[in-house]
């Protein structure tokens, strides 16, 4: 009350002083002092009103954060983990502090916490390998402060690759309007379109693939009137037609050989159907599939001669980091009348001789069929120690399977284990960072429909940490954003591409690949 009375008195004094302004220097000085007083008062009021003071109740409960950024292992170069505090209060006070003593304070009236990026960056980089803690305070309507249980996050020593590339599209059925391949800088919130299909006459753009994310070897497919496979290397683009009379199903899922000289593709005949009653919306089935090898330098495409391929459907190629093995998924070939629920894929690999472009005998790596499951998307860590794959009940398109989970295969002892990062919803398409420490994968745990990118730390034993969703500047972003993040891929490079280049290239006729009969 005293502050209030003083405030009113000063205001009255100010008005009188302004009114009698002609009285010269002394009056001006008085005005200046009053204004200074008011500014300090306003600052103090603001500070006092939004900072916990007095008797603060300590709660054993943890604050409910959305997204859930608690108990994580985070990279030292990740953008701020902005969040919303779900517990209702009239004011919030959040203190983020590190082991080294640095501190960031964020105040909020609505529960939205946006961490200053530069302070965050400095804190994380200065505390790599240590912890960062979050104290959340809330004030109720009576002005009483409550402190929640401290949140503890670990900052890993290893950085995460700075970019991810992904396709943005509605998690829909068969039609599309806007399709784009985007990239996001993980160290900030900056994201940009890499390609938008509006620049290429609404053709479909898909299947972007990096060569282990370390080089700018990159490719993507375009389907439609300007169709072809677009290879990018050393700043140059080439448009190739990989469909020949000998591979009528074309080339679909790509994986670069680590040397950059080859790309393995699967060649698939795919059908898509829609469930009338099941909560699974779409069923994608391969009617036939095989593997192809594309020689980038010679522009030759050929079959992957893996033993037994005539009686099987092979798909989802993946190279070992040393390029000596090609991993893939294999299922028995189906007949005319087939039960789609009985199509199950095992994990195989076949040795590859790079100089001769030949393959040896394929060997079974993981028998998923034996446990009545189906494997897809094998991805070997760049250090060659682990292979993570998706396991679902059947089929080869697990993104539409709620039960799909990520499993890890230790390539040394060949033991398979289910990763802890899984949820009750689809957890699927995944990509390793170049240092084998981070995994990004698509998860539908948010709402069961839209795939979101989640990041998890993988330790030296192949154990995953609690995953966290890709942070956004607005913590409420995912509440209204309906598009799926499809095929998230790490990269250390930012590819320089602009609309003019894409447009020019798309209009050119594709160079036909030559079929090589091996």
């Amino acid at each position: 009350m005293n502050i209030f009375k003083t405030f009113l008195y000063k205001i009255k004094y100010l008005i009188e002083a302004l009114h009698s302004r002609s009285m010269g220097y002394n009056n001006n000085l008085r005005i200046f002092r009053i204004i200074r007083y008011l500014i300090i008062l306003a600052f103090l009021l603001y500070s006092c009103g939004s900072k916990p003071y007095g008797s603060i109740t300590l709660s054993e409960l943890a604050p409910q954060l959305e997204p859930d950024y608690s108990d994580l292992t985070i990279p030292p170069n990740i953008s701020p983990l902005n969040f919303i505090i779900k517990q209702k209060a009239s004011a919030y006070y959040v203190k983020i502090f590190s082991d080294s003593g640095s501190e960031i304070v964020v105040k909020s009236g609505n529960g939205k916490i946006r961490i200053p990026p530069s302070k965050w960056r400095k804190m994380l980089l200065g505390n790599a390998g240590k912890n960062v803690k979050i104290d959340v305070y809330s004030k109720d309507d009576e002005g009483r402060w409550l402190k929640f249980k401290t949140i503890n996050n670990k900052i890993a020593s290893e950085k995460i690759d700075p970019y991810i590339y992904y396709r943005l599209l509605y998690p829909g059925y068969e039609s599309w309007n806007e399709l784009s391949i985007n990239f996001r800088n993980l160290e900030s919130f900056k994201s940009e379109s890499f390609i938008e299909n509006s620049v290429v006459d609404q053709n479909c753009v898909n299947c972007h693939s990096f060569n282990n994310g370390k080089t700018d070897d990159f490719l993507f497919h375009m389907r439609g009137t300007l169709g072809g496979t677009y290879f990018y290397r050393n700043g140059q683009f080439k448009k190739i037609n990989l469909k020949t009379s000998d591979n009528k199903n074309g080339a679909v899922y790509p994986r670069w050989h680590p040397s950059g000289k080859f790309v393995a593709f699967s060649s698939n005949k795919i059908i898509q159907r829609f469930h009338a009653a099941d909560n699974k919306k779409i069923e994608v089935t391969d009617l036939e599939s095989s593997l192809l090898l594309y020689d980038v330098e010679l522009n030759e495409i050929m079959n992957v001669e893996a033993a037994g391929k005539e009686t099987f459907m092979d798909t989802y190629p993946e190279w070992s980091p040393d390029g000596k093995y090609l991993y893939f998924c294999r299922a028995a070939r189906i007949g005319k009348d087939y039960d789609y629920k009985k199509i199950q894929y095992n994990l195989y690999r076949v040795p590859f001789e790079i100089d001769k472009r030949t393959f040896g005998h394929s060997e079974l790596v993981f028998d998923a069929v034996q446990i009545n499951k189906s494997a897809a998307f094998p991805r070997v860590s760049p250090d060659g120690r682990f292979l993570i794959f998706t396991l679902a009940d059947y089929g080869c398109f697990p993104i539409w399977h709620k039960e799909a989970d990520l499993y890890s295969l230790n390539l040394i002892d060949l033991k398979v284990s289910r990763l802890d990062l899984n949820s009750d919803y689809c957890d699927s398409y995944h990509s390793w960072s170049s240092n084998s420490k981070w995994l990004i994968f698509s998860s539908k745990r948010d709402d069961g429909l839209t795939a979101r990118p989640y990041i998890s730390y993988i330790n030296e034993n192949g154990i995953s940490s609690k995953p966290f969703i890709l942070p956004q500047s607005d913590p409420e972003f995912y509440k209204s954003f309906l598009k799926s993040y499809n095929i998230p891929e790490f990269s250390t490079v930012k590819i320089d591409l602009n609309p003019g280049k894409i447009r020019k290239l798309a209009k050119t006729a594709p160079v036909p690949a030559k079929w090589f009969k091996n």
Binding site: N177, S198, R503
Partner: protein, 591 residues
């Protein structure tokens, strides 16, 4: 008509504008308010950064965004009509103002001629408001530039170009041509420099946009949104109007010599001019008023509000000929349990096209096709249609409603909440969003007395793969897995009736008893009698349900009339149509 400012009464000055505003207001607000209804339903303005961002990826996107914002107010026709008529009147006024700045006189002929043509265009329900907004912005900015031509030492006309291009896209052509004609007519060296600079800057903007900024095709960068949202004769007329506007500085400088023997006072000019204007507007209004469209949109409005009885009543009084209207009417009949009773009370397509729509990526088909599936309990398919429509056409209130309901029925509460959240961020559907939230809470708390729970009970339980190209097969598959689906069964029987599939009808007759009917629907009774006639009077097996005496009597009456014309089907038709046109028998004989 000219107006001199110095001696005229201000009332006379504003009289023609007031008349124009009033007529257009009345027309759009009360006579052809179906135009506002259609445009409001075609898009949904959402207060969110995501929604704005979707419109920032190409020049002209902001104009569309603004158009959608204003279209949201069409929710209230009187307000929408005020906005629409105000925009048109402002265009007219802007042209007059430009004329005054260029010539010192208020010549109204050109202004109101353009106004009348734009009114004519606007009577087409597909002519969206952004077209007029685009024109208004060009005229308004041009007016500002020439009025304040001393600003920035006269270079305002060039400086403003990037803003106009980014905001209005392809409409910039109008500004560029307007300004070119204006600058050329001055023919001074410094002004010519501005002329060339303006075009050079435009070229640079376009090339920069093309090469570095926007992922859009050349056509989009040059013409969006004009060519993308207008087509056919509407586009041609619009381009003509835009062309006339573009060369206004040249047209306005043409002086017409006044006949000395024919001079009238300003008052007379104003009154006569206004009268002629009113006359022309009324003629256009009458000529362009489309009663069929008005009826169709009224039926659609009732349908989307689930007022099925009123849909049927309206169509009974106003027999529809439009396939889509009849399709909606059939759904209303099924929802009220009368499909097999009153199918032939309305004209039908014998191939079944009035029963269900085949999958096509066309806006009206995508918008409506899912409702049959929703009624028949094929909720996933209903959801798919609504989702595909959303992907192709963006959010609409009705589309969101269907998405929310189908997600709630499928117990996908997280997704339902997302859609409700989007609806909550609209202008006039917030209350509806709150209702859906309460409905969702009710479902989560195990509530039973709501549409969602009821639909959940009717929903297809056993899975199969749908076939959109042949909707009837989906009915068969639904019934194969759930023979107690009453609405699907009614649709099946309706299909068999339309195809005069007597064997099919015969095979399914016992189904009515199994489904708990106590009497057969009227058309089925008629079909049973037709079957009996073809089987030497032996009634087919309908279980414990008998054909009513009323139908038997009616059949005798039908026969009597036919016999009166010597069993001559052609001669008997007019009378039979009048008395029995709403029966299966008439359909069999004459369709």
């Amino acid at each position: 008509m000219d107006q001199e400012t110095t001696n005229s009464s201000p009332y006379l000055f504003w009289l023609p504008y007031a008349a124009f505003l009033l007529i257009t207001y009345i027309y759009f607000g009360f006579i052809s308010n179906y135009i506002l209804y259609f445009q409001e339903k075609s898009s949904l303005f959402i207060f969110s950064y995501n929604f704005l961002q979707e419109h920032l990826n190409k020049p002209g996107g902001l104009l569309i965004w603004l158009g959608k914002f204003l279209s949201a107010f069409f929710y209230y026709p009187p307000v929408g009509a005020l906005i629409l008529s105000s925009v048109l009147t402002l265009i007219v006024f802007s042209i007059t103002k430009i004329n005054y700045i260029l010539t010192g006189k208020y010549k109204l002929i050109i202004s109101f001629l353009i106004g009348v043509i734009l009114f004519y265009l606007q009577t087409n329900y597909r002519f969206l408001i952004f077209n007029n907004l685009g024109l208004l912005l060009q005229l308004g900015l041009f007016c500002l530039v020439i009025r304040f031509n001393a600003f920035f030492k006269g270079w305002l006309s060039v400086i403003i170009v990037p803003f106009i291009y980014y905001t209005t896209g392809g409409f910039i052509w109008i500004y560029l041509l307007l300004m070119s004609f204006y600058l050329i007519s001055a023919f001074k060296k410094t002004i010519l420099l501005r002329f060339f600079s303006m075009w050079a800057l435009s070229m640079i903007l376009y090339l920069s946009a093309r090469e570095f900024i926007f992922f859009q095709s050349d056509k989009t960068l040059i013409t969006y949104p004009i060519l993308q949202y207008n087509e056919g004769s509407q586009l041609i007329v619009f381009l003509i109007v835009a062309g006339i506007i573009s060369i206004l500085p040249a047209i306005l400088r043409i002086r017409f010599r006044e006949h000395r023997n024919f001079s009238i006072s300003n008052v007379q000019q104003s009154i006569i001019g206004t009268t002629i204007l009113l006359f022309i507007l009324v003629i256009i209004a009458i000529a362009r008023f489309d009663n069929k469209k008005k009826k169709y949109f009224y039926v659609e409005k009732l349908f989307f509000e689930n007022r099925f009885n009123e849909v049927i009543e309206f169509n009974t009084v106003n027999p529809p000929t439009n396939l889509l209207t009849i399709y909606l009417n059939n759904i209303a009949l099924c929802e009220t349990g009368r499909l097999d009773d009153q199918l032939f009370h309305f004209p039908q397509n014998k191939e079944g096209k009035t029963l269900f729509l085949e999958w096509k990526m066309e806006s009206e088909i995508l918008k409506h096709g899912g409702y049959f599936y929703y009624t028949a309990g094929m909720i996933n398919e209903a959801h798919r249609w609504a989702f595909e429509n959303m992907v192709m056409k963006g959010f609409t209130s009705d589309g969101l409603r269907m998405l929310i309901k189908t997600e709630l029925i499928n117990a996908n509460y997280d997704m339902a909440e997302k859609y409700i959240n989007i609806l909550r961020h609209s202008l006039f559907y917030r209350k509806e969003a709150v209702k859906f939230e309460k409905l969702m809470t009710n479902c989560l708390n195990g509530g039973s007395n709501n549409e969602i729970i009821q639909k959940r009970q009717e929903k297809t339980q056993h899975d199969y793969f749908t076939i959109s190209e042949n909707p009837y097969i989906n009915i068969e598959m639904t019934l194969a897995s759930d023979s107690m689906n009453r609405k699907a069964f009614e649709y099946k029987m309706a299909f068999l009736l339309l195809h005069k599939d007597y064997n099919g009808i015969l095979h399914e007759l016992r189904g009515y008893e199994r489904l708990g009917y106590t009497e057969l629907p009227a058309h089925i009774e008629e079909a049973v009698i037709a079957l009996a006639i073809s089987n030497k009077g032996k009634m087919p097996d309908t279980g414990n349900i008998r054909v009513s005496k009323k139908t038997e009597l009616r059949w005798n009456q039908y026969l009597t009339v036919l016999q009166q014309y010597g069993n001559n089907i052609k001669s008997a038709e007019p009378v039979l149509k009048k008395q029995f046109g709403n029966t299966f028998w008439y359909y069999v004989f004459y369709k």
